[in-house]
Symmetry: D3
Subunit: 282 residues, 6 copies
């Protein structure tokens, strides 16, 4: 496992991207006629939280097994502008061919970790945990959820197959919260709890009555969320979602919820700025 | 070709993502016991420029060939909050299984098109064109470059194999701009022009003297860019890059450059907000 | 979804098997020079419970899109010797090329459903449910667990990623049942319960004290299992496993457990006997 | 080649199974927080004939290249309950992630080898050889046929492409044994013999007259098989099949046939019982 | 099966080639801005024997399911310069994207069929058959062997797994023809004959004595081949190989051998000349 | 990169071919019972220019990681009959299993390099360069273009995505050379030149007037080509194609063209003759 992904899946992802970037090799390096061994540094060009460095470095080995590298900082670590995150050694054409593929992965995962870290900072001390969602980039679910963890966040379910969350469309199709929760409690099997999404206090009470284990308060006012917290029975977990921008997070977290989930962690975190610099030959 | 991607590649991308989201099916739908045919709408929940609708809708067919759909708006079109972008028909479990995979693709591509459209709006009337870069999300190069076009932007090269751009690392390895450009002009073959990245006016003049066809002014001051424009010979194309935030774009574009390239189009555009709503059965 | 598997995964499975059986076509059919359209029946040659018929029939279409078929019985149905389960129409060489691949899948899934059905019959009326395990055939997890359901059994977790079960090796590595359960309750997240495997009454009591939600009594004597049932607090689920042969199932089920899990359902069910017979041309 | 399979095919098989068992990692190990290096033994829990140990051990390396192992017994060897078949060293999470995938492969292949060995024991001294069939588990053809060899059996053809066997459906389609054999002898080419399946003595004589090289007596009475043996000309090979249960094998083999083929070797051999035990850390 | 290949393998081959030719679409068609529906003809530009037309036409459907086509001539048919072999209908960009991939396949298979047909013509009336070898182009084995059949030739074995041929290196490793043949006869199983390659009359006699079923006279003089024919016992098949150029084939064939094998059929047949012409729109 | 191809693509190509040649192993080696370590030489059996040796040798490692090899000559080198090109060491069954796959690749690439070298020799001293085309063998584009380079030739574009060439069908669809070139110049972007194919002097002049950067004179008479050369303005590159047989190449090259393109380099070069010989054990 590299950054939460099996090595073969990581290699698939990187090789697909390498072929997308360079289906027939690097026309520029060939035209310039570059060759020989080189050294390069991967540099942070802003303050950021690292995530995915080992996964990104794998790119160089895939381009050429003669490449090697040294990690100078660890995932989860906060580093400042100018920090050398890793060094890479190997044939110059291989380093340049791999550069963008490696950086594209890294800038995205560090961007997510950095943004998550800000969200986690907002709720510090409130007892609430920051959760991600399934709103991830195509092909990147496992890595992006890993980046959330590196930023101090927690993962909600990985996908549709590993946990139960009754959302608006399930409830619409089932007819009512009561019907949906009852059926899920009956059929879920002994190993899973049942979470249900509600959008007002009436549905919240209906969910409690139906025996929901976890209740997601979606797009509810802070006042209603406070009321829900006040009336929750022991053993029921509460999560909030919907419009959870950074400037609002702390206020929501202080209401006494267990979790606040933030889709933007994975779908709208801006890329972090990192670059690769070839070092002068010695 | 669907949204610039071959159908088999699109299917690969969507099937991988469906398996990542639901390796063993949708535990919630099964627990609730949903079945039967349904109808759903895909709705814009903000003003946005559409991109990738047909690609996203393909997801439903891949989950179940019994699904069908109707497009109600076209890629490249600007739509307002509440617009129904498409309708989907088919078995409810299939619609719910495909929902997030389809929306994750769509929110990203519409996010890019919408952001690109803002950038293009900034430079309107200046004669400059907005270009993307190779700073795309892993696995999404072709689709993201399509979304840029839908937003009114233009594509720079697709990757390393289809055009020549001498960047800082090539120049460092070659020793000088002159050496790098000379070699590239010699070896590039008859079908490609040579672009070179420079970071100051001295290097710019060196690039001109070496015969570069296109010159990328990277992270140069507006004053230096203006000087470069003023002194450029006929037949040479000029592009600017580096820190091209939206609020600065117009100023740069008015300097008389041919292209401004903006990495953020693909690496930091926030996701657009869209949702899928099951309609009540009739 | 066909028999619990996505269509693309089923096609992968069947195409791999077709290529393994006939990497260069069917030497016999070619040598005999067979051609023309034919009809065939798939026949039960013993009493059996059906599972996987639609999946098996898919084979014929994959060999030649000109093949079609009609289902004459449904998965989950018990049929007697001589029952025509399905009819197949199409080019004779295609029918003969697909025959063994289709039957090999079908004989295995019907074998599991039939064996499961016997196990379920043994516990009828006791309130206990028959569960499968992860002891499935390589490549067949999803289909075999579907066959268990068709035979009236229930599925335990699908794999390591969707639920939590602390087994002997986890407990050994963690140091004690108490340590393992405590850690799992802490880190499992809000959506999953914690099951723990114990092998004697002392560990059972330790598991209860540690807060396990579900307890698996593994290879315990009937007397000890009875004692466990007698002392269980409300809200705790009990499962038995280990040496659950058909002749012992009822006795165990009558002890008052919620579940009995039987590895043999998927690893040792004998194949069911089915054949394909070409019908004389009309 | 590992156990008769190319390394890349084996890796494909194991990686597919690992992803099916753990699409997102091992929830239990993560919840318990296990880490560190460990040692484990793979133990026979019944008398069995080994097959597939090297293939099964490959699983550990695929999960983590830091795993290593030592073989303590060889394929084809008969071992008793409690025998340590192999030792595995590596990170505990990797060992536990690989455990079930490795054991599921091993229990099946050892089950086949053990069952085959019993069949071979039944015919010992008769001169008849035990053959397998194409009735194998999906995806496992090459490995299961290897397990048959490890149990002392022989392989019939690998599939449809490497040899010629005219079965009931070919004969039905061709019109007669004579027509089918004649055509096959004519078109088979210089490198293959022609085998034909017959179900009574008349067809047997027809097959002989038509020049069949090998004749498969299918579901014929022992008396008719004896008559066939008595009247066979030199150079013709005889094989028997159909209902070849263990208790009947010797009687049939003593009739003087060259081969007895037994579908149950691969489709109904019960799994052998093996387990993996983590050893206490030193 | 299309041209002897399963549809999924053909699609894999064509899609790989399409992606190699156009990883990001057709830059020229896009630059010219072509669109709309078109019609095109595939024309023979020399006398040739057709092979692979249906396989080549599949390319158009893979690029765009909106393409259709009509076959105007059949594989195995000899056509003259200017013959319209097929018509293709569909979107012009799809036709032009598929053109070269389709023609590259077709020019190669027709080239092989045409060259084979000349070789077959040379031996006409002699009773000898022309055989191919395993000296095929990477990735094209099945299709090239099909093209040989379309040209009137016969196939030797498909590969290493379906028949037995003891060549120089096997004999060297085994120590002698006698040792190699004896071992092969013993272990080959009942369904395969044993062919052995010999390079002089002494080895030929040794092969006969050892019981070889088929003997390949490799690079032997015509005089020695005649001697071998003269002394062959009934039931032994003779094949000649080595330097079988077209101008020598008839002389060798008239010696009375059963087969002459010609590597050049598949490794050195010149491509046939075919082109695709867009028709003026109506 | 091995011979211009990424290692993972090369491995895919070789593994596919190995499975096509030996889906179930090598029946002959098994029947003879060969085992033990061996040494072999790869020998040139004619004068040839080497290309692809490292790629071909990779086959042995893929069959068995225990194989190793030594290169005794380099790609691009001309070697005579009897030259030992490489030595291979490893288990005899692995060497024999890999032999044909390795040689089939090598004989094709050396064939292309050798033929290209003859073409390049023809134009020596004229200043014209020999170009290849897109008329390559399915699956072999990248390797065959590498072989052209090894023979001293130059590559035209790799495929449809990396450069612009307006051919007859584009011009037909666009209506005229003028319309097609104008559109391409407008839309091609700053990084690509525009090449157009013309078939007579009128179209040539039209292409010049339209601003084509490169003009391909297709199937034009030597007299017309001379006229084109005589009237070309500075900065325009000229290429000739169509019927460029070896005996005509020099005459055409002496006309003063920049490039002559020869489809036969890749579609009709005869295979070079190489063999693998097992050495006697020491």
């Amino acid at each position: 496992m590299v950054c939460g992904m099996s090595l073969d899946e990581l290699d698939d992802l990187l090789l697909r991207e390498l072929h997308a970037d360079a289906p027939y090799g690097d026309k520029t390096t060939e035209a310039v006629g570059l060759c020989g061994e080189g050294r390069a540094e991967i540099l942070a060009k802003q303050d950021l939280v690292l995530a995915g460095v080992a996964a990104a470095l794998r790119t160089f080995e895939l381009v050429d097994p003669a490449c090697s590298w040294a990690l100078l900082a660890e995932d989860g670590e906060r580093v400042g502008t100018g920090t050398v995150v890793a060094k890479v050694f190997g044939p110059i054409p291989a380093i340049l061919l791999a550069e963008r593929t490696a950086l594209n992965l890294l800038q995205r995962l560090c961007g997510i970790a950095t943004f998550t870290s800000r969200a986690v900072g907002e709720v510090e001390g409130t007892g609430a945990k920051v959760l991600d969602t399934r709103k991830t980039s195509p092909g990147m679910r496992v890595l992006e959820k890993y980046a959330v963890r590196m930023g101090g966040g927690h993962n909600h379910r990985m996908g549709l197959s590993d946990a139960i969350l009754l959302k608006d469309n399930h409830i619409a199709a089932a007819g009512s919260v009561t019907a949906a929760v009852a059926s899920a409690k009956e059929r879920a099997g002994a190993l899973w709890k049942v979470e249900v999404e509600v959008t007002d206090l009436d549905l919240y009470r209906e969910a409690l009555a139906a025996g929901a284990d976890v209740i997601l308060l979606d797009n509810m006012s802070e006042r209603d969320m406070a009321a829900a917290v006040a009336s929750r029975p022991p053993g029921v977990t509460l999560e909030a979602s919907g419009g959870m921008t950074l400037d609002r997070l702390r206020r929501v977290a202080e209401l006494g919820l267990d979790y606040v989930s933030v889709g933007a962690l994975t779908h709208s975190a801006p890329a972090a700025d990192l670059s690769l610099e070839l070092l002068p030959s010695r």
